[in-house]
């Protein structure tokens, strides 16, 4: 349990450090990479907590997600390399206050609540995957299916929103003039 707490703290500090770096660097590509490392550290925390399937899933998902994010950063940012030293923040004091209050409240709950007895032994990895499969295709099947349909809907909606809108009026004018 001592080693588990140690590695949990190490990966936790890495996740927090890279999380802070996301908003500290002026290079947007570095921000995306810092977020990737932060999310990977979170995945490693899952592995330390013996949830192997979710840990690997988190690392794989975030690696692809953040790579796409880095590409979007280069595409959309006015200064993706951060060489101009632009300040891209607003309402800083309010945001810091809100962040500190949110984190403080959550830490207070974590420290003050009575969590009861902690289970020392986790089910082994094969057992976990098997039981999660049973959960997904049994009791939680409706939730699982809803999540799948939601992702499909989001993909279609995102594509529909991203397709350029044709100016039908000017197209009609062109046809008339021809």
């Amino acid at each position: 349990m001592g080693a588990q707490a140690f590695f949990l703290a190490v990966f936790g500090l890495a996740a927090i450090g890279f999380g802070v770096a996301v908003f500290r660097t002026s290079s947007m590509v570095r921000s995306a990479l810092a977020l990737l490392f932060s999310q990977t550290a979170v995945g490693c925390m899952f592995l330390v907590m013996q949830t192997e399937f979710l840990g690997v899933l988190q690392i794989m998902m975030m690696a692809t997600e953040m790579s796409i994010m880095a590409i979007f950063m280069v595409m959309f940012m006015m200064d993706p390399g951060g060489l101009g030293g632009m300040d891209m923040t607003h309402q800083k004091r309010f945001s810091i206050g809100a962040g500190v209050v949110a984190a403080g409240a959550a830490i207070a709950v974590a420290l003050l609540a009575d969590w009861g007895a902690v289970t020392a032994q986790a089910p082994d990895a094969a057992m976990q995957t098997r039981e999660l499969g049973h959960e997904l295709l049994g009791r939680s099947m409706l939730i699982f299916e809803t999540a799948g349909v939601t992702i499909l809907t989001a993909m279609i909606a995102a594509t529909a929103v991203a397709i350029p809108v044709q100016n039908l009026a000017s197209k009609d004018d062109k046809e008339v003039s021809q």
């Binding site: 349990m1 595409m75 607003h90 007895a117 999660l132 989001a154």
Partner: protein
């Protein structure tokens, strides 16, 4: 014994706080999405810790983690769709320039 749980919960809480700061302070749409991702990462850490240390016999906790991961993916897909539409229309994804969206 509860020290391990506390370490995980405090990490989740700090990630949540950093995410809230990022989502509120950034002016760029993609950076705001990064803040939201950190908020959800904090929630994920808490959910896994609750499952592992308090209720490892019930797999609803892991199911909940998968639902939050779905929310992360959906947020990214819709966010990038909106970013592309906004960039096409105005040539920028700066939220300071999106005051016309106010009701």
């Amino acid at each position: 014994m509860t020290a391990v749980l506390i370490v995980a919960l405090v990490t989740g809480a700090i990630l949540f706080g950093i995410g809230v700061y990022g989502a509120l302070s950034q002016t760029n749409l993609v950076m705001i999405m990064m803040g939201v991702e950190l908020v959800l990462a904090g929630a994920l850490v808490n959910l896994v810790a609750f499952w592992r240390f308090l209720h490892p016999e019930s797999y609803s906790g892991q199911m909940f983690v998968l639902v939050v991961m779905t929310v992360m993916a959906v947020e990214m897909a819709v966010g990038f769709g909106v970013a592309i539409a906004r960039f096409r229309a105005r040539g920028s994804v700066e939220m300071e320039e999106a005051e016309d969206l106010k009701g």
